[in-house]
Each structure stands twice: as structure tokens, then as C-alpha cells.
């Protein structure tokens, strides 16, 4: 930290707690009994011993002195765990994300397997790996880490899998939890459930006519462009909903 910056700080009439913290950052040794004036003196003494230029302020020391400055910190590109995760983006798009442990990746490379990510519609069935209503898949690089799939149906259950082909057979090596795409149209039923808060208890009654319900419902939205496209993001960032 430059001498000028230390002086600026002292001029800002800091509280004793701030002085203590500041002194600590500069590496000034403090005693518990020290008063505001003593701490200020100790800080000035330290600052005098610094050269009055920015030469001694390397990037590293600035970072240390100003630790709260958010930095473009390096994060690992992978964490080497076995997983595949799926989330709906909207009623027609699903985001998948995956990684593999070193062990799994090695065993795949031994058989020279090409990796695929697959999203299957398993609405209302117990999935046995073969009975999906339909699926979409893409050949991927492990490093790629994620993929967006356009799917056919809102209000449907999807499962993500990572796997490879052995001949014609898809061999699944990882499965995600099941996710459900949101609805984009009303769901009409024959009965409605009503709770009576005064008398207690619940009651099933015939549902209101569709016309009455529809009066308040806007037209449902259809599929959009890919959530990874710039066009999509631009549209999203410009339009406002509630927010």
C-alpha cells in the first residue's frame, strides 16, 4: 500500500475498530491497551518507512492489502466426479451438465468409447433403460461439460444419462435425477379440491367450466430458440416480466 493511501485512510477519521483492522493489514503490531492516538502513530510510523511511490505496490501486495476486491480467480474446469444433472430451462429446453471421475474416464478410454449424453422422456413409466417414450442424444466431449436439448413436451418427466454405444446398444454409465418440464398451458381436471378453513375438512367439487378459467389465461408460448444462443439471451435480457 502506498504512503498516500495510508494518509488518505487516516484522514477519513476511522473508528478505533477500523484503525485496528487497518493496522493489522499493514502488519503493525498492536497492544490491547493502545488508544486511537497510539494506533494512528504506529500506522504513521510504518507508513514513513515506506517509499512514497507506487513502485512497491505490486499487484500481489495490492490484492493482499485490498482483499475484498473481486478477482477473476481461477476455478478448476472440472472436479472429476461422476455425475449428470438435468434442469429445465423452460417448457421446451433442458440443460444437462456432467463430469466423470478419473477412474470412470480411464475405463471409458480403455474401450475407446465415444461419449453420448441423452435425455429421455419417461413420463408416467418406471424407466428400465429401454422403455423411454422418446429420447434425444448428442455425441459429446467430456470437457464440454454441458449441452442444451430441445424437448417435445412441457409437463413431462425427463432423465439424463451419460453413456456410450456398444454395437447398437446404448450402455448407460450415469443417470441423473428425474426432472419435469414446466407446463405452459392450463391443466383442467374434473374435480377441484377446496379446504374449509372455518369448519375444517376438504371437499371435492366439480371443476369450473373451462370458459371461466380460460378468461384469465394468456396463450401458451411455444418453443424458443436455444438458450445457449446469443439471439436468445439478447431477447431475454431486453424483455421484462414481473422483474
Amino acid at each position: 500500500m502506498r504512503k498516500e493511501e495510508i494518509h488518505d485512510f487516516l484522514k477519513s477519521e476511522p473508528s478505533i475498530q477500523e484503525l485496528r483492522r487497518f493496522a493489522k493489514m499493514l502488519g503493525v503490531r498492536l497492544r490491547r491497551s493502545m488508544k486511537k492516538r497510539d494506533i494512528t502513530k504506529a500506522i504513521i510510523k510504518t507508513s514513513e518507512s515506506r517509499r512514497p511511490s507506487s513502485e512497491n505496490t505490486t499487484a500481489n501486495s495490492t490484492e493482499k492489502m485490498r482483499p475484498s476486491k473481486p478477482v477473476n480467480a481461477d476455478l478448476p474446469s472440472r472436479y472429476f466426479r461422476d455425475y449428470v444433472v438435468v434442469h429445465p430451462v423452460n417448457p421446451y429446453w433442458i440443460h444437462t451438465m456432467w463430469d466423470l471421475s478419473i477412474r470412470t474416464a480411464e475405463s471409458l478410454s480403455r474401450i475407446d468409447a465415444k461419449l453420448f449424453v441423452r435425455v429421455s422422456d419417461i413420463t408416467n413409466i418406471i424407466y428400465d433403460g429401454k422403455n423411454a417414450h422418446r429420447f434425444k442424444e448428442a455425441q459429446i466431449d467430456l470437457e464440454q461439460g454441458s449441452w442444451y436439448f430441445q424437448v417435445d413436451f412441457p409437463d413431462a418427466d425427463y432423465i439424463g444419462e451419460l453413456g456410450y454405444y456398444s454395437g447398437e446398444v446404448f450402455v448407460s454409465i450415469l443417470k441423473s435425477r428425474i426432472t419435469r418440464t414446466p407446463r405452459n398451458s392450463p391443466k383442467f381436471t374434473e374435480f377441484e379440491t377446496w379446504i374449509n378453513r372455518v369448519k375444517g375438512g376438504r371437499q371435492e367439487i366439480a371443476a369450473s367450466s373451462e370458459e371461466a378459467g380460460m378468461a384469465f389465461v394468456p396463450k401458451s408460448s411455444g418453443p424458443s430458440s436455444s438458450p445457449s444462443s446469443e439471439e436468445f439471451i439478447k431477447t431475454i435480457s431486453k424483455s421484462k416480466s414481473g422483474r
Partner: protein
């Protein structure tokens, strides 16, 4: 005569921004501007309404990061300094405007008076703004609800129930600490709802939450009364859904009230207009220009270029707020009549949620509009302002519905927070969550003080990285560098704390620093992540 209720809901939120090692930091101004332009003007409007005996009912979420920033001593001191500098600028402006466009000096004097009143209120409550709002809760005028801890986007946490649980639990704890009682309701960040989240709310005693319109329109089953009657989920939590008509009247770029030509122009500010030498002490020390809040021009016309705007006239703008409040009230009466007729006499409930910062910060006259709205509706026999608990108390029958997965973001689902620009965040958030849960369970019974501190800090870093604000900013392409670096820095801090804890080599000096800079939730207990949920 038909009759309906109006629930006005203001969502007050800013991400936790605290840079105590900097004499000033550009992004800390977000808080200072919001206190000056929105939060205190709202408190003042509430006081005027109360003093005049006006019947008013408002619901407000004050999010945990906002509560934590209100209570932060460093930020309090910086805020007082900020106000002091702006007051000094007003004095200079009064001098300077003597020879400028007639009327600008009157405005400068007005700003001076306004800022002095704001400072007086702030100092008189010792910076305890939550306490000031809570007074109106005590008098029944205001219902303050909580929000999930750091405004984390819950729909993308569903595979880690522990993460959702922690967000809700800490949201409730912060409210209890700062407000002194338990919250009755919650605003889920970004109105992000996925079926199942209501079970967490029930567990924490939260009796209601808010959703966007299509959560009910496309709920299971379709609601009998659209968005105009609250419903109850199978977990027995009440749901209030946004009325699109009310939003449209206030928000719409074409017909919304804030676009009226008489209102103040946001984008003409002396922070940008004055010469550099003069304005330097009042903008960012780096020399980067920013808003000061001193603005002399009105919108004038939608297509009028910024440099051709006319002088702002406060009295004209005040007249506009009255006209708009009258118009809004009239539209609500008509809506109530129309809906009552459709519902065969059943009382409609109109829910109008907004970002609080729209009022005052973006729309300077917004708090006045709210004040005028309640004056207009005072004693109204058709539209009665109400809080959610009042609405709930008045309901005998309620329809049970599972709301649809939804958010209040553009297009209504997850796209704002999950797209090609920001999807990289979730790989790291997921890893952070996994590590946090792993260590919370491993060290649940540890009594080592240093380890406990490191684990608590790890939880803070995770929670701060989870703020939905960062992904939002990346999508909207505003202060992207700050948002990206905040995300990365918190995650890097989390990962290094993990390594230090696991290698039994905790760097206490660095931990001290992190506890100081990322100081949110002082009383946090990392064990919240050890709980078995889901």
C-alpha cells in the same frame, strides 16, 4: 356493491456488497442510492400517511443481505459520508445554478432540503432502518416478509435439498434476529418456485409466499378464480399470484406511469453533466462518472434526446403522481367490479408485486405515487388495501392447487438464470454445495473453535456465491465483470477453505480477513448443511 382487496407488495433487495478495505467502492453506491432514493422516502411516505390517519396496507420483503448491510457499521459510516458529500455538492450546486436555467436553483435547494431530512432520519434511528420499517409492522400498516438467505435461485438447487433448506432456514433466522419475531411469509428470490419448495416453507412456519401469474394459471389443477384468489398448496401454504394488469400499468414501457413526460429523467445527472474537476469529489475516486442523484431534467418526451430535455418541475410531477394514483385506483375499482361479476360476488384479491427500488430510484416520484394511491383509496368501499395475513384471515374456503414451476423473470421460467452466458456458474455452485454438505456432516460434532470458524466462513462463501444477482447481471450485460469476479472469488475462497480444513492447516490470518470482508450472517452455524432433508 362489489368489493375487493389490493395487496401491494414491494420486494426490497440488493446483493451483499461490502468492501471495508476500500475507502469507497463503486458498487457500494447501489445501497447508498437505494437508501436515499427508495427506502427512506418510503419510510417518510409511511409516516405522512400515518400522521394523516390514512388507511394503508403494504407488504414488503426486506431480504437478508439488505438487512445485513443496513446493520453493517462500516457501511453505515460510509453512507453518512456519502450523504455528507452529496449535501456538500448541493451547496455548490445552489451557488452554481444562480446563473443557469431559471428554476434549476430551486431544484438544487429542494435536493439539499431532501438530503438533510434524509440524514436527520437516518441519524435519529442510528441507521436502524429495519427498526424504522418494523414500527409500521407493529402498527399493522406493514407486513414485512423474509426472503431466502442470499436470494439464491432455488429452482436450480432442487438436486441439493440441503442447499434449499439452508437458504430458507437462514432467511428465517436473519429476520428473527433483526425484526425480533418470526416472519409469517416469504418472497422466494425471483419468485422462483418448483413444486416441493412449499414443504420447506411449512417446516419453518411460513404461511404464505408469492408467485408469478402462470404459477397458478398453469397450476394443477387450473384455478377457479385465476390469479384473483389466493390458493393453498398440498403442504398448506398460501400462495399469492401476481396480477399482470397491475404490473402492466406501472411497468410497461409504452403505457406505464413512470414514462410520463413530467417525471424526472433518470439518465441526466450532474455526475455526468458537470466538468471533471468540479465533480471529481462526488463521483467514484477512480474518476469513473456515476449518478449523484442531482438531476435537473424531466423526461420531456420519449423520443427527445438526452441533451434536449427540458427543466424538471417538481410541482408538475407531483400533480402527475396524483393523476396516476387516481387513474390506478379507478382501474382497480373497475377491475374489482368486472371480476366480482365474473366470480358471482366472490371477493377478488389483486396482488401487485414490484421491485421496491423501482419506486424512488428508477422512478423518482414512485414513493409519492404510493402515498397518493393510499390517499385516493382511503375509505374506499370497493378497493380495500390488505396484507396477506388479513386476506388469509378473511377466507373461509380456499382452493388447493400445486402451482406450476415458474419465476418472474423474462419468459417466466429459468432462462434468465440459466443460459449460454451464465450456465458455467452452476458447475461450481454444485461442487461448493457438495463440499459444504460433506464437511458439515463430517465435522458436525467438532469442538475445535478454529475449524468451526472456517466451516462457518465456508458456508458464508457458498451462500454469497449463490446470489441470483450474479447470473442475472451476466444475462442483462450490466456490471458483468463485478458479478463474474464476485462469483469466482467466493468460490475460490470456499475451495481454499475446504483444502485448509481438510489438511488441518487453517490460515487464521486469512480467515480473519474473510470474516471481515464477507461478514454476512455473523451468527451462522454451518451445521445447517448437515441436516438430512429431502
Amino acid at each position: 356493491m362489489s368489493r375487493g382487496k389490493l395487496v401491494l407488495m414491494l420486494h426490497a433487495h440488493l446483493p451483499f456488497i461490502n468492501h471495508p478495505d476500500f475507502p469507497s467502492f463503486m458498487e457500494e453506491r447501489w445501497l447508498f442510492e437505494a437508501i436515499t432514493e427508495t427506502y427512506i422516502p418510503l419510510i417518510m411516505a409511511f409516516h405522512r400517511l400515518k400522521n394523516d390517519g390514512i388507511y394503508f396496507r403494504i407488504t414488503m420483503s426486506i431480504t437478508p443481505p439488505l438487512m445485513e448491510m443496513f446493520a453493517n457499521k462500516d457501511l453505515q459510516k460510509k453512507y453518512v459520508d456519502y450523504l455528507g458529500r452529496n449535501i456538500e455538492l448541493c451547496h455548490k450546486e445552489i451557488e452554481r445554478t444562480i446563473n443557469e436555467v431559471p428554476g434549476s436553483q430551486r431544484l438544487a435547494k429542494r435536493y439539499l432540503k431532501e438530503l438533510e431530512e434524509i440524514r436527520e432520519l437516518y441519524l435519529s434511528c442510528d441507521g436502524n432502518l429495519v427498526g424504522e420499517f418494523a414500527k409500521f409492522q407493529d402498527s399493522g400498516n406493514l407486513e414485512i416478509v423474509t426472503c431466502n438467505a442470499t436470494h439464491g435461485f432455488l429452482p436450480l438447487m432442487t438436486h441439493y435439498p440441503e442447499a434449499i433448506n439452508a437458504q430458507i432456514s437462514i432467511g428465517v433466522d436473519t429476520y428473527r434476529k433483526d425484526v425480533g419475531r418470526l416472519p409469517k411469509g416469504i418472497w422466494l428470490a425471483e419468485c422462483g418456485y418448483v413444486p416441493g419448495i412449499d414443504s420447506y416453507l411449512r417446516e419453518y412456519g411460513l404461511s404464505f409466499f408469492f408467485v408469478d401469474s402462470h404459477a397458478l394459471w398453469y397450476g394443477d389443477p387450473a384455478p377457479r378464480y385465476g390469479v384473483y384468489r389466493p390458493v393453498i398448496t398440498p403442504e398448506n401454504v398460501f400462495v399469492f399470484a401476481r396480477d399482470p394488469e397491475s404490473s402492466q400499468q406501472v411497468w410497461s414501457a409504452e403505457v406505464g406511469y413512470p414514462g410520463d413526460s413530467r417525471y424526472r429523467e433518470f439518465y441526466r445527472d450532474v455526475g455526468f453533466d458537470r466538468e471533471e474537476d468540479y465533480i471529481r469529489p462526488y463521483i467514484d475516486p477512480s474518476g469513473e462518472r456515476c449518478n449523484t442523484g442531482i438531476k435537473y431534467y424531466k423526461i420531456t418526451g420519449k423520443d427527445v434526446p438526452l441533451n434536449e430535455k427540458s427543466l424538471y418541475d417538481f410541482d408538475d410531477a407531483k400533480k402527475a403522481t396524483k393523476e396516476h394514483a387516481r387513474d390506478f385506483s379507478q382501474r382497480k375499482r373497475e377491475q374489482v367490479r368486472r371480476l366480482s361479476e365474473q366470480f358471482g360476488g366472490v371477493e377478488p384479491v389483486i396482488v401487485a408485486p414490484f421491485d421496491a427500488e423501482l419506486f424512488g430510484h428508477w422512478w423518482y416520484e414512485g414513493p409519492l405515487f404510493i402515498e397518493e394511491l393510499f390517499r385516493e383509496l382511503n375509505g374506499d368501499s370497493e378497493v380495500v388495501p390488505a396484507t396477506p395475513p388479513e386476506v388469509i384471515d378473511s377466507m373461509e374456503q380456499v382452493q388447493q392447487i400445486t402451482p406450476n414451476m415458474s419465476t418472474w423473470g423474462a419468459n417466466g421460467y429459468n432462462e434468465v438464470w440459466l443460459n449460454g452466458r451464465n450456465d458455467w456458474i452452476y458447475r461450481h455452485l454444485d461442487e461448493g454445495t457438495r463440499l459444504m454438505i460433506e464437511l458439515a456432516r463430517k465435522y458436525e460434532r467438532t469442538e475445535e473453535k478454529l475449524k468451526i470458524r472456517a466451516l462457518n466462513q465456508m458456508a458464508r462463501e457458498l451462500l454469497l456465491a449463490q446470489s441470483s444477482d450474479w447470473a442475472f447481471i451476466v444475462t442483462t450485460n450490466t456490471t458483468v465483470e463485478y458479478a463474474v469476479n464476485r462469483t469466482r472469488s467466493h468460490l475460490e475462497r470456499l475451495l481454499s477453505l475446504y483444502r485448509e480444513i481438510e489438511s488441518n492447516n487453517i490460515d487464521e490470518e486469512r480467515l480473519n480477513t474473510l470474516e471481515w470482508i464477507d461478514s454476512i450472517f455473523q451468527g451462522i452455524d454451518f451445521r445447517v448443511y448437515a441436516k438430512q432433508v429431502g
